[in-house]
């Protein structure tokens, strides 16, 4: 078994309903991007690495589970000064909290192929609810395209002297487009505990 798949399997720490398809993001064809405001202008960044494991069945969204792990040091905004600052103690503080996680166990249907996952984002040691809305396009390799808005100050990303939102905007838009492949072992998934 590929070590990466083992990690994905271990990431699932709660039972998943047998009917929910169990997927993980093919990161080669998936993106996790963010957009903030700095000095009156939007800047775009992305996380070069992340893991997303998703148990989702459009017929039974309530049985879903999202497990996303984001190594924060992989943030890339095409600006070395800004990337260094992002990794620093005042922002992502990757030395102490290298990984952010997004976990959701409740997905609501918004009609059509639109859904909302009420999840929890853990970032910089702060865990707060974040709503992630997405569209689901099924198939052998489903596509999940979604958005969330994260207020950086809720997570103390750039607090203190950096809290001036006229220079660094508070709301950060997160956008992701995932190409999903069936998790090894095949869907439906079974419970795996750490």
């Amino acid at each position: 078994m590929n070590l990466r798949y083992l990690v994905f399997a271990l990431a699932l720490s709660s039972p998943i309903a047998a009917s929910a398809g169990n997927w993980h993001a093919d990161t080669k064809y998936s993106t996790l991007a963010f957009s903030g405001i700095y000095q009156g202008e939007a800047f775009d960044g992305r996380f070069k690495t992340f893991d997303a494991t998703i148990a989702f069945d459009p017929a039974q969204p309530a049985t879903s589970r999202f497990d996303v792990k984001i190594p924060l040091a992989s943030a890339d905004t095409a600006n070395s000064d800004r990337d260094d600052a992002l990794r620093g103690a005042d922002f992502f503080d990757t030395a102490h909290t290298p990984v952010a996680t997004f976990t959701a166990t409740h997905v609501r249907s918004l009609g059509g192929n639109h859904y909302a996952a009420d999840g929890t984002l853990s970032l910089r040691g702060v865990s707060k609810p974040v709503v992630f809305t997405f569209t689901w396009t099924g198939g052998a390799t489903p596509a999940l395209v979604g958005d969330a808005v994260v207020n950086r100050l809720d997570f103390k990303v750039g607090g203190g002297q950096w809290a001036d939102t006229s220079v660094i905007g508070n709301a950060v838009k997160v956008h992701t487009a995932l190409k999903l492949v069936a998790a090894p072992g095949g869907a439906p998934a079974t419970s795996v505990r750490k």
Partner: protein, 188 residues
């Protein structure tokens, strides 16, 4: 308007000259110091002001070039040919540097993928996309350009003082605001 050349620089030319001079000296001093600042909101503010004042110089330099070309200006002061030619060369180079410095800074800022906001009022577009090579060269131009400009300003100011204190001519006075007009016998 008289068809003969004026003996003094007009008020607007004087205003632009001294305003830009003040900005250049201030930008140079702050520019030398600010790069050694540790990352902080103060550093962001100082850089933002450096960029805003630098863009101001660019705007004023554009206005000044138009004004220089569109209005009458005093004739060159009489003097040896080497002085007249070197004065022309330094003046020309100063005009060039008034554009090179802000434009290289703007290009460096753009290639570094930073926004460019003018006194928190509006944003200017990027001249270039994120590009490490362009970033490197633009910074080289900005840095060597600074030392070139510093040398030019020094020579320019030294020449003005030389004319004022040793040659006792109108070179400096005719650029100073509020000075009485030179005696009528002082022909250009």
């Amino acid at each position: 308007m008289s068809t003969i050349a004026p003996v003094r620089w007009n008020r607007f030319a004087q205003l632009l000259h001294w305003l830009i001079a003040l900005l250049i000296v201030g930008l140079g001093c702050v520019g030398l110091w600010m790069t050694s600042m540790t990352p902080s909101m103060d550093k962001i503010t100082v850089f933002a002001l450096h960029k805003s004042f630098g863009i101001t110089v660019l705007m004023l330099a554009g206005l000044r070039l138009v004004w220089r070309l569109a209005t009458r200006h005093p004739l060159e002061m009489p003097g040896p040919a080497w002085q007249r030619w070197s004065a022309r060369a330094v003046h020309f180079a100063l005009y060039v540097m008034m554009f090179v410095m802000p434009l290289s800074g703007w290009l460096f800022n753009s290639a570094s993928n930073f926004p460019l906001q003018w006194f928190k009022l509006f944003n200017l577009p990027a001249l270039w996309g994120p590009d490490p090579a362009v970033k490197h060269w633009a910074l080289m131009v900005h840095e060597y350009g600074f030392w070139t400009l510093a040398a030019l300003v020094t020579v320019h100011a030294a020449a003005a003082f030389m004319h004022h204190y040793f040659d006792h001519d109108e070179t400096l006075r005719r650029m100073l605001p509020g000075m009485p007009a030179p005696p009528t016998g002082d022909k250009q």
